[in-house]
Symmetry: C3
Subunit: 372 residues, 3 copies
């Protein structure tokens, strides 16, 4: 794998997005339709969906989805909408269906593969056939233990879209990792500010004094420099062993990592809603959900080698606290960014060579919005 | 009186309303102008308006109205707006005017018949005549102890609109009944979902296990099956005597009821804002106020024979608790309906023969909206 | 100075503004652009800005501004927006900059005169010159101890706009006065109702029984009767010495006042956001900030001769309580006005001769909105 150093990919004259992109409800609605409702969005880990009947309810682009594994082991993402009178069917965040999925209003009953099985009194209606009323379904895919859905009627195949990522992180054995911690953040800023903030470390010396001692912002290189997937690595500065509060490793290596990767942290921004951070001894990721032009829900989980969570001498909290602190510093500064870019006088500003990834992200975003 | 059994009036192919009708603020605004501001809306009972000067302040289609009985015994519904600078005049929910209605801002003073009596310093203004500035007035009508107002400038006469109901419920002696309980519910759902829910009992077995034992959903028949007034009766299943928690009657018969009606409950949906439920021993009704596309205020009162309220051995709570429980079950399910019909993928679904009344209600609604 | 008695300036047939002006978000947005973002708005007193580096952060027409005095003693009003990525820079309400103003995000650093001094890594960007990126600046002016800003790119000179006020109140020595009390009121009414309410005392007998005994509403005269500055005086009725709870003077005369002014109170409405009340022994003023069509933030301060605040035998609370009581009575009635003018049936009503100032204010407002 060859890494290009960031500056080589800088496009001279790149400037930040205009004000409207951060404050307009119309643009948010457009983003949801053109980007989130047409792209492969991550809905989290596959682990809670191991057994037939197990389900989670997740929201993507304002759509409630029932994600469930059927008796043949196939995953489905059903729109949480009864075909009778439109009632939201499933109210729990997760669980296991015994045999069927039943709407509580008038008892329309579906199989866990989505077929309509029973609809009281509908047999009296001429021309009514249960076969015409399965639950609506979204496209679904799995990759390295993560689950993705696509709300589009005719989605681009996941394998084609995800080709650049296939096998790329195999050495991290992501599908084997276990969830060690989970937190949701309510951020008073536009979702794009969250992506842009994640995509550069020029702000680290001022915003993250702790992190800056472990991960020098001028170290490393980006391997993805254009397109929907962006990012690269930073060097973990000796004597630090990992990005933790103590600087020490917090548990077992997550995979069979070559020597180089044992001193590197990888940060990938994966359009439209996944941020993925890989460290030698743990992985953390973020799902970014736009709620309003000035509000974003960020769900985050920390993943560890199962042995790390089983071994009482390991210190997963050392990694959790490190990023929880760093995350909160980030949310605070993007909230102040949100306030500033709402000004009449805010105009696009110049990106530096150290901000080539946010600049590339903006270009990809504008392309997906049809303005590229 | 002849009742037609529900299935005979079912219109094949009836389907639920499209998504926009449940989520669009523009449609809610249109409904208020085309339906609520042009129809005879119930504002509750006439009892608090027995004496000259007694008034209540009520809101219909966002309009605050002062409803007052004048010295000649005539009821008025005044817009609660001073003709001087537009100040809302009356702030109490109810009370009794001594002689006049005075705006607290600059002391413009009106008679309780609405005429402007005094306007300080306006006599200095050439061409000003108090006769030109009475309080604005809405049309008002009484029926069986209920009061109705119509905000339209040229309202259709109440007697013509209400002709199908005149004398129809005479045997229930509604004007004699007393208020035994009052409650207001704040429901996170569109007002039409409240009407549709009231209009069928196909949901009773799943949503109301208690009620379903007393009132079998396949019993009874509808006498109003098309138009603004809809509904009919259900049989009270023996050994139950009424729709109460205990199944026993809770007090005196409300009127001089024939034998059949002593085992029946009548449920009428009366456009645009009244739901009226008649049981042998009590009556309860609902005023349905749209607040937002996804929010409705429902005001409900329970009415009893005065003897029931005076007699300590009667049990009005038995009826109150029965419907308060049932109401809350209904609000919960319509709130889940609201969430579901907000989905991009919700499409109109098929009504069964057991949902002929909601289907008829939708047709009348569309007609009044000019889309019929 | 010659005063014309109010009635002489009454324009026959003047009527209140139509409903839309009080409820439409589009009109509020238009007002902010046409009036508040183009006019000289008061941001309060100059006292906290006495020394170089001292700053306050104030909001005018939704714009956060850093108002700071530089090393040469010149006042600046900077848009609180970093020229790099638009971040809001300054978070404190007031303080003192040591040497520079630094954005916390990526450490762009400005002088307190607004010049960009340092921008990390931007030197690597070809064609980037710090001279091109000073903080954006609004126009600023001082008058009698008050500070004004104008957000327009090409503002009308303050001296020309303020010519009618220059020297007019010199005898009150306003720049010498000290702040004795400060309060912010959140009023659920349109900002224009606040101005109109301030501009007449016809409501005083009903709304302010206490005030009405001290300041007879038929006393006095207006010296400004047309244009952006309006108002005049009222007589303080003997034996009252001032507008205080006790009726007694609360401290030293604020200036070297002629005998007449020792028994008069002056009330000036100064477009677009300042209300200025002058009494022999104290001055109080209001900054009126539109927040929503039905919400206004009013910031108020009471100013006294420095000796009054230093002398334990004086009673500044006597004046503070008098107006705090009166203000709250006013906010309550304008909130009821807001409710009333939101009615479908509210129509423009007739102003009396005693409401010539609100009528003139409306005319000036419509002129500034381009509807005059």
């Amino acid at each position: 794998m060859t890494y290009h150093r960031t500056p080589t990919t800088y496009v001279p004259g790149s400037r930040t997005l205009p004000r409207d992109y951060y404050v307009s409800p119309a643009i948010l609605a457009e983003e949801k339709e053109k980007i989130h409702a047409r792209s492969w969005c991550c809905i989290g880990r596959a682990a809670p969906l191991a057994e037939p009947g197990e389900y989670v309810v997740r929201t993507i682009a304002d759509e409630s989805l029932i994600v469930v594994r059927d008796r043949e082991g196939v995953l489905h993402a059903f729109f949480n909408v009864c075909r009778h009178r439109g009632t939201r069917i499933c109210r729990e965040e997760s669980g296991r269906f015994a045999q069927t999925i039943q709407c509580p209003y008038h008892a329309w009953t579906y199989g866990i593969d989505g077929r309509l099985i029973a609809a009281p009194h509908m047999q009296e209606v001429e021309g009514f056939h249960t076969a015409d009323y399965p639950l609506h379904e979204a496209a679904i895919a799995e990759w390295d233990g993560f689950v993705f859905v696509n709300l589009a009627n005719d989605p681009e195949p996941f394998d084609r879209v995800w080709a650049p990522m296939r096998a790329r992180l195999q050495r991290y054995s992501l599908s084997r990792l276990s969830i060690g911690h989970r937190v949701a953040y309510d951020v008073a800023a536009n979702w794009k500010l969250v992506f842009q903030n994640y995509s550069e470390c020029l702000h680290c010396p001022t915003i993250h004094p702790k992190l800056a001692t472990v991960l020098p912002y001028q170290s490393g290189a980006n391997d993805f420099t254009e397109g929907p997937f962006l990012g690269g690595y930073m060097e973990i500065k000796a004597p630090n062993e990992s990005a933790t509060m103590s600087g020490r490793t917090c548990g077992r290596l997550v995979g069979d990592l070559p020597e180089d990767d044992r001193h590197r942290a990888f940060y990938y921004s994966l359009m439209p809603n996944l941020l993925l951070s890989l460290h030698p001894d743990y992985v953390n990721y973020y799902l970014v959900h736009p709620i309003a032009p000035d509000r974003t829900l960020v769900e985050s989980e920390w993943l560890f080698h199962p042995d790390t969570l089983a071994d009482p001498s390991s210190r997963p909290r050392d990694a959790i606290e490190f990023w929880d602190l760093t995350n909160r510093q980030d949310w605070e500064i993007v909230e102040w960014s949100q306030r500033g870019v709402s000004s009449r006088r805010y105009g696009t500003g110049p990106y530096s060579a150290r901000e080539s990834v946010p600049a590339a992200w903006d270009r990809e975003y504008l392309r997906q919005m049809g303005r590229g």
